[in-house]
């Protein structure tokens, strides 16, 4: 060994090691720390970008207060927050069965949009011609069918020709947008292509409580249903086996193609249901932006919750809180619409990035051995 090499050879300062078991309490601590850190970085970024803050650094407290203000300061805001969360939760639940099967369905946006279109198509053609309750049932069924059809097409191709589901479902989103544009052109020949609020086909609120209570309860019921379906049903068991290993599934006699198709139908039906909630319960109309990217946000919600419907309540609340908080900030500080996206992006970056620190740890150089090597 040359002299030079020997002096260069010392123990590295640290190396990475996979944690053998993850303590759930410690994991929660790391996640909380990540959120706090993310908020701090948001503050720094905001300070750099917002002139109002630079002139008056004391306002930084207001900046953080806006996060909460966006959701909790009035009863109206609270209900709106819960409504947003409920819709997001519905779509997140919809993507979950496919994800548990490791079928990377990123087409919830399009499937939900088709659900909205299905509901509104019924309302547009049959509104006023049939009794309202009958119309609502028709809207409900149409939304479910539209959503399921949009989901089952990529599944059929996957089962038959093993096409890549990620690309396929992504492309189907664009097709859905154009289908909606097409109908808007037909329905609104004037050229504005914006369909106003329809008079018929509105999901009536519950006779008590807030106007959004029904939607919130539907989403809660769906959460429990999906939790039971995935954990205790034979179909849920099959989904888990297929997700883990297709070879194992075949070995145990599971018809993998059937499970893929059936699970995507379930996913599509749930997306359709979310579309019905948006179409009949909230908007009474359809635009190409009816779902507004929630189909993609839902993927993050589902993933962060580790595909567990009950955890999803927490993650969808977190994301909804972030969204409304960021919107509030842009309103309070009178800044451009891009800042909320920046803030949400920073915090998501920290939340997702911290998973690395949950699974891995740094092992630092031991003091004595370090000395030994330096000798």
């Amino acid at each position: 060994m040359s002299e030079q090499k020997k002096t260069a050879a010392h123990e590295p300062l640290f190396h990475l090691a996979k944690r053998s078991s993850v303590n759930p309490v410690a994991a929660m601590g790391i996640r909380l720390a990540a959120i706090v850190l993310g908020l701090l970085v948001c503050g720094l970024v905001a300070f750099a970008l917002i002139e109002k803050l630079q002139n008056n650094p004391g306002k930084i407290g207001d900046f953080y207060y806006s996060f909460i203000k966006g959701s909790f300061t009035s009863e109206r805001k609270l209900w709106k927050f819960l409504k947003n969360m409920a819709v997001l939760q519905c779509i997140s639940l919809a993507v979950t069965p496919a994800f548990r099967m490791r079928f990377w369905n990123i087409g919830a946006e399009g499937q939900t949009l088709m659900g909205v279109l299905g509901a509104i198509t019924m309302a547009f053609y049959f509104g006023g011609k049939v009794p309202e309750w009958q119309l609502l049932i028709m809207m409900f069924i149409a939304a479910l069918i539209y959503g399921a059809v949009w989901a089952v097409i990529p599944a059929l191709f996957k089962a038959k020709w093993n096409t890549n589901e990620t690309l396929f479902t992504l492309m189907m989103n664009y097709v859905a947008t154009y289908v909606v544009s097409y109908f808007l052109v037909i329905w609104v020949p004037s050229g504005s292509s914006t369909l106003g609020k329809l008079k018929f086909g509105k999901l009536p609120p519950l006779p008590f409580g807030n106007q959004y209570l029904l939607i919130i309860l539907i989403s809660l019921a769906l959460t429990i249903f999906l939790f039971i379906y995935l954990k205790y049903s034979k179909q849920g068991y099959e989904i888990s086996v297929v997700g883990e290993s297709i070879r194992t599934a075949q070995y145990s006699g599971i018809n993998v193609k059937k499970v893929i198709i059936r699970t995507m139908v379930v996913s599509g039906l749930l997306c359709g249901l979310a579309g019905f909630i948006i179409g009949a319960g909230l908007d009474q109309s359809v635009t190409t932006e009816s779902v507004g990217g929630q189909g993609f946000t839902a993927i993050i919600v589902s993933w962060l919750a580790n595909f567990n419907p009950l955890f999803m309540i927490v993650t969808s609340a977190l994301i909804s809180l972030l969204n409304s908080g960021a919107a509030q900030i842009s309103q309070d500080f009178n800044v451009s619409g891009a800042l909320p996206d920046v803030i949400v992006g920073i915090i998501l970056f920290f939340i997702i990035g911290c998973e690395f620190f949950i699974n891995y740890k740094f092992v630092f150089r031991h003091k004595e051995t370090g000395k030994g090597a330096a000798k």
Binding site: M1, K5, K6, A9, H10, E11, P12, H15, A17, K18, R19, S20, S21, Y232, S233, K234, Q235, Y237, E238, S240, V241, E244, S245, R247, T248, Q250, Y251, S252, G253, I254, N255, V363, H366, T369, G372, A373, K375
Partner: protein
């Protein structure tokens, strides 16, 4: 003769989380010797060697090369110190030639002058007695040729300490002998060779000294001349174990499974099985020997309904004549189906058609053993899916080679893995976890599976325990045919013997056992007959009580079936 120490380790400790892979290990390697590292599965052999070759970094302890302390942070550091490791899974570029692979990653002048490289390779090969064509592409090579490339790669870099991780696992007996010859020459040249292994007879035949590891600790290093198989095992396991497999004489041997002229073509159009014809009998263990990848996997999967069959028959025989029906589904549909085909008679010999009876009445008749088969049951399993095979009432158990990728679901607990075969049972859309849980607890108790609980993901269990779970489940379904592919691969001696005993017990219970193995000593000691296959063809069927290892080794490499038909 005074021997110089080439490499020594002092107080080496390595932890993975809470698992201690190596604890305070001291080890010396001399120049010009072959040292075997012996130990059960998961005892830290490979981890220890990975720390010398720069893949892992020790948490504690020091390594000395020729008396000087060194720090090895990466495989490159190890190469600079003239230490080379030949891994169990070869790390070669398939599309490159042998010579190109050998110089890959070396940064020196003339690296790409293939002429000089080829001549240097040829020189090394001649010196140690390798047979190699430097221009041959890796994808054209056999396993043993690839291994040769790996060894030369290390020698080319000037290594004087060579570590071989289970080098004989994939070789035939003849190839192993050739490898050992090469190793002896290297030793004579003054190189230090470390072999990781768990095969005792190899340790005894090739090495000078043996270091025994148990549960991450260095137990002892002994001179091979003072050691015997049983003394080494005792040190490895920590207690005395009997190494004899208790082979009973087959009783009540009956034809159970008949494979006729089976041909299989894989998805790439390659014929993986050619005209396979054999029989497996109840009360007998049929061994299948062959070099890895000779079609063993495809054969078992074809029988299990997992591999498409091009032509041929797989006939399942069940001698049921005049025996009562015992197997039925809740819906009784199979019993009704067979009754409609006039397959039953009652105790008086009158036809039993079960016409107009309710399910409860049929069940009562079955329970009273009043529904008897008229004929033996003979079924062709060709082209049937695993589910169809099972719903026909054919109890075929299969322990696949890939335990976590095929036999079990790694992320699920033992209970949920028990359900893989039985989750469809019961009415309604919900799974019943009660019975699987009871079964899981039984298996844990009877097979001494060490696990924190029935819901701990099986992926976290050690190899031996995973295998016990899988074999336990397959046996729990009271099979008529039990197929096991490499069931002891990677298992320590104790676990291996547990599995052999389980297979033997199944044989005594009248099950037709098909055992695909790689260790010829075990095959010869455990099986009644051994079928040898090579490149998807049967090259011989021998009586395990009279055959020799050399005879089987020869059949394993031979491409044509021998003219001499060996006894059934």
């Amino acid at each position: 003769m005074e021997k110089k120490i080439a490499l020594s380790m002092r107080g080496i400790t390595k932890r993975f989380g809470s698992v201690v892979a190596n604890h305070n290990v001291d080890l010396d390697v001399y120049e010009g010797e072959i040292l075997s590292i012996l130990g059960g599965n998961g005892c830290g052999k490979t981890t220890l060697m990975n720390m010398i070759s720069g893949i892992y970094f020790p948490d504690e302890g020091k390594i000395f090369k020729n008396g000087e302390e060194v720090v090895i942070r990466s495989p490159k550091d190890a190469f600079d110190l003239r230490i080379g490791m030949i891994h169990q899974h070869f790390k070669l570029v398939d599309l490159f030639t042998a010579a190109e692979n050998i110089v890959l990653g070396i940064n020196e002048k003339g690296q790409h002058n293939m002429k000089s490289v080829n001549s240097r390779v040829a020189q090394i090969a001649e010196k140690y007695g390798f047979h190699i064509d430097p221009q041959k592409k890796i994808y054209d090579m056999s396993v043993s040729e690839k291994q040769t490339v790996e060894i030369i790669k290390v020698l080319y870099r000037g290594a004087d300490i060579l570590i071989l991780d289970e080098p004989t696992a994939v070789l035939t007996p003849q190839e192993i002998e050739r490898l050992f010859e090469v190793l002896r020459r290297m030793k004579a040249d003054g190189k230090s060779i470390i072999i990781i292994t768990h095969k005792l007879h190899e340790v005894l035949s090739v090495s000078d000294r043996v270091a025994i590891l148990r549960k991450g600790e260095h137990i002892a290093t002994v001179d091979t001349c003072d050691a015997t198989e049983s003394s080494l095992t005792e040190m490895m396991v920590g207690k005395k174990v009997t190494l004899d497999i208790d082979r009973s004489e087959p009783v009540n041997v009956q034809l159970r499974l008949e494979v006729k002229e089976l041909n299989c073509i894989d998805s790439e159009g390659i014929q993986v099985l050619k005209d396979i014809t054999f029989t497996a009998n109840s009360g007998e263990i049929l061994g299948i020997a062959g070099i890895a990848g000779s079609g063993q996997k495809e054969l078992l999967e074809a029988i299990a309904g997992l591999q498409p069959i091009a032509s041929g028959q797989i006939i399942f025989n069940n001698p049921k004549k005049d025996k009562p029906v015992t197997f039925f589904h809740k819906s009784m549909y199979r019993v009704k189906e067979l009754a409609a085909q006039d397959a039953f008679h009652d105790k008086e010999g009158k036809p039993m058609r079960l016409k107009g009876m309710s399910n409860a009445q049929i069940r009562a008749q079955v329970a009273a053993e009043n529904v008897l088969f008229r004929e033996d049951e003979v079924m062709n399993l060709r082209g049937k899916t695993p589910l169809e095979i099972r719903s026909l009432g054919v109890r075929l158990s299969f322990v696949p080679e890939d335990r976590l990728g095929m036999g079990l679901v790694g992320s699920m607990g033992i209970t949920d893995n028990m359900m893989l075969r039985s989750y469809r049972k019961g009415h309604g859309g919900f799974v019943d976890r009660k019975k699987p849980k009871a079964l899981a607890e039984d298996i844990i108790k009877e097979l001494e599976v060490s696990t924190p609980g029935v819901n701990t993901p099986v992926r976290r269990l050690s190899g031996g325990n995973v295998q016990k779970v899988l074999v336990g489940r397959e046996i729990a379904f009271a099979p008529k045919v039990l197929m096991a592919a490499y069931p002891v691969r990677g298992l320590d001696i104790n676990s291996s013997y547990t599995i052999y005993n389980l297979l033997n017990k199944q044989k005594q219970n009248g099950v037709a056992v098909i055992f695909v193995g790689e260790d010829l000593d075990v095959l010869l000691a455990l099986c009644d007959r051994i079928m040898v296959i090579n490149s998807g063809k049967i090259t011989g069927m021998v009586d395990a009580r009279s055959a020799t290892k050399e005879e089987i080794g020869l059949l394993m490499t031979q491409t044509e079936a021998p003219t001499k038909e060996v006894a059934q």
